[in-house]
Structures are given as structure tokens and as C-alpha cells.
């Protein structure tokens, strides 16, 4: 099977989706497309079903949070064509209050847990996901920890004084914690 060039793929995609693809970038060895979230699933399905390209391996899927950007919530998906050894990365953005993307589970079964993890970390909802619930954290957690506004530290530590690094002992002593409760 002849290996398609990256230009061929880019041309085929822009022919098919036109203005749905906002831009193509190249970062190191990767070609990255920023796409409209409306075509998120179609683009992966097109690449999957295209006999010439055969992007049939979902490498990874994750969220990114850019708190200062106009569209802070980003979803990144990466596909691999094992036959041709080509890799592509797609990004889509959203600025909604309740972030919702379409689910890739219809194309790749592997997306199931990756999307659950993304939901768990960032709170993105995936439309069409069969069983969207938290996967790594406890079910009754009331926030999405990977968003930049939440701290990494455990709130129950009272023995650390990291004033130099932005954490005061008084924030974490037992009394204050109890009062907060």
C-alpha cells in the first residue's frame, strides 16, 4: 500500500470539511489541526473509514485547560495510522459553561475510559457516551481537579508551612479547617 503524504491528507480533509478546520500547525514531528467541535467525530470517522489513510488507532485523548484564553477548554485527540506510521493530533476548543463534546466511542471503543477520565479531570461532558461517570476519583467529589483554579495540595495537611511557596500554615491548621467545616 502506498504511503500517503501529509499534504494529501491535509488536502483531503480540507476538501471534505472546508472551514470546519481552522488551522494546521506543525510542532516538532507532529501535524496538529484545530477543528470546529461540530465536526469532531466526523473527522475521526472520515480518517478511520478512508481506505487510503486508515487512521484506526486512537493513541490518546485528553483535556487541557487554558484559563486565560477566550476558549479555555481544549480537547486533544491523537490518532495513528499503523499501516503507514503516520500520526496526527486534533484539537478542539469550547468556552461553554457546561462543556460538552461529541463522544468518540462510536468510532473507537478505546475512547470510553479516556473520555471518562477527561470528564473526571475537567468536567467535559461527552454527548453519546454510554456510561459517563467518574473513573479515578471518588464518586461524590464535587469539583474537577485538573482545572487550573483548583490546588494540587491536600486540604487536610496542617503540618506544612510553605509560606515561601504560597501556602500558609494558618490556612491548614486544624482549627481553621474545623471552622470551615
Amino acid at each position: 500500500m502506498e504511503k500517503p503524504t501529509i499534504e494529501e491528507i491535509i488536502n483531503a480533509l480540507s476538501e471534505k470539511f472546508g472551514s470546519g478546520i481552522f488551522e494546521w500547525n506543525r510542532e516538532y514531528d507532529f501535524h496538529i489541526a484545530t477543528v470546529d467541535k461540530q465536526i469532531w467525530v466526523q473527522i475521526f470517522r472520515f480518517l478511520y473509514e478512508n481506505e487510503k489513510f486508515r487512521f484506526r488507532y486512537l493513541t490518546t485523548l485528553c483535556g487541557v485547560h487554558y484559563p486565560d484564553a477566550p476558549q479555555p477548554f481544549c480537547l486533544v485527540g491523537q490518532v495513528h495510522s499503523l499501516e503507514h506510521n503516520l500520526r496526527l493530533r486534533f484539537k478542539t476548543f469550547s468556552n461553554e459553561h457546561h462543556v460538552e463534546f461529541d463522544s468518540l466511542t462510536g468510532v473507537f471503543p478505546a475512547a470510553n475510559w479516556m473520555e471518562r477520565e477527561t470528564y473526571d479531570f475537567y468536567g467535559y461532558r461527552f454527548h453519546g457516551h454510554p456510561d459517563l461517570k467518574r473513573i479515578l476519583n471518588v464518586d461524590d467529589m464535587d469539583y474537577f481537579p485538573m482545572r487550573k483554579e483548583y490546588p494540587v495540595e491536600d486540604r487536610t495537611r496542617y503540618d506544612k508551612d510553605d509560606t515561601m511557596f504560597g501556602r500558609k500554615r494558618s490556612d491548614f491548621d486544624r482549627k481553621t479547617l474545623m471552622e470551615k467545616k
Partner: protein, 187 residues
């Protein structure tokens, strides 16, 4: 008794506790005998969650061989175990499970906290990790290290053995012990 101690073969036999000895009899106090017997027949329950669990595997395997210290038999059921060995990070999701396992163990029971994560949260000062298992269950011996070497785990076991040997028979009924459990909300 004395001929057992002076066993000519190289099989090591535990030394008898202090006592009075004469022809045909040997007298000592009960808790010394009980302590000696308990000390050398600990049934540990390995509660291995992560990296320290792999070091525990090394401790059990051929090179270090924990069986030399009377802990040959691992008890995977908490109801028959004497020693709860908590090895590895305990996430907040795991906390209730650990507590339940502890509650299922029968008295007398001891807890060995192996590794930095179990003892204090270690390098994982993060929202999802319990910052030390002593927030939810009482701990007898802490073993430092990330992960501790098998020698350190064995040292922890030896420390537990000392505690077991010297423990008074009445300790578990004492008001101090009841108070300790009550402070953790365990009945």
C-alpha cells in the same frame, strides 16, 4: 529446656524466656510465654497497593525470605491475621476499604505502615491521597523509605515482634487502649 537451647545442629531455636528451672519443671509468667509464641508466629495480612508491594514481593522471595522470622504464612483473610502490613499509597477512595479491613481483624492486632506514602502521604501531597494512614487507623510501627529496602521491611517486622513480645496480656482491655480506638471511632 536447656538441651533445646543447646541444640547441636544449626537449626535456630527461640530462646526460652526467663524463669525458674529445676529437674522436670520450668516456671515463668504466662504473658512471657504467650508473647514468645505470638512473636514468632505472626500471620501478616499484606495490604499492598503499589511500589512498596513490589519490594514486599522481594522480601517474601528467595533472597530475603521473610519466612525466617516466623511469618511464612500470609493470611489473606483479615479475620485470621495478626498484623496488617499497609504497603503503598492509600488514596482517599481506598481509605474506607482499609478501615473495614482493620475492623475485620480480631484482637490482638498490630499495624505496620510501610513506606513514606502509607506513613505520611510521601511525595503525593495531592487532593486524592490520604496523608498518612494514621488518620484512619492506629499504627504501631512506621517504616520509612520510598520504597523501603527489604532489610528495612524486615527491621519493621522485628520491631513489631518486640512490641508483641513485651505487650502485657491486659493491654487490649485497658482504658487507654479503648480510648485510643474511640479516638478513631472504632468500637
Amino acid at each position: 529446656m536447656s538441651e533445646i537451647i543447646n541444640n547441636p545442629s544449626d537449626i535456630k531455636v527461640v530462646k526460652a524466656p526467663e524463669g525458674f528451672e529445676g529437674p522436670g519443671f520450668f516456671a515463668t509468667s504466662l504473658d512471657k510465654v504467650v508473647g514468645m509464641a505470638r512473636k514468632n508466629s505472626i500471620w501478616p495480612l499484606p495490604f499492598a497497593t503499589s511500589c512498596c508491594g513490589i519490594e514486599f514481593m522481594a522480601t517474601m522471595a528467595s533472597t530475603y525470605d521473610l519466612a525466617r522470622f516466623g511469618s511464612e504464612r500470609l493470611s489473606f483473610s483479615p479475620r485470621q491475621a495478626d498484623l496488617l502490613m499497609v504497603m503503598g499509597t492509600i488514596a482517599k477512595k481506598m481509605g474506607p476499604v482499609l478501615r473495614q479491613v482493620y475492623e475485620q481483624m480480631a484482637e490482638p492486632r498490630w499495624v505496620l505502615s510501610v513506606g513514606a506514602c502509607a506513613s505520611s502521604g510521601g511525595i503525593f501531597d495531592s487532593y486524592s491521597v490520604l496523608q498518612g494512614i494514621d488518620h484512619i487507623i492506629p499504627v504501631d510501627v512506621y517504616v520509612p523509605g520510598c520504597p523501603p529496602r527489604p532489610e528495612q521491611i524486615i527491621d519493621g517486622i522485628i520491631n513489631i515482634q518486640d512490641l508483641i513480645q513485651n505487650e502485657s496480656l491486659r493491654r487490649r482491655n485497658s482504658p487507654e487502649y479503648k480510648q485510643l480506638l474511640a479516638s478513631y471511632g472504632i468500637e
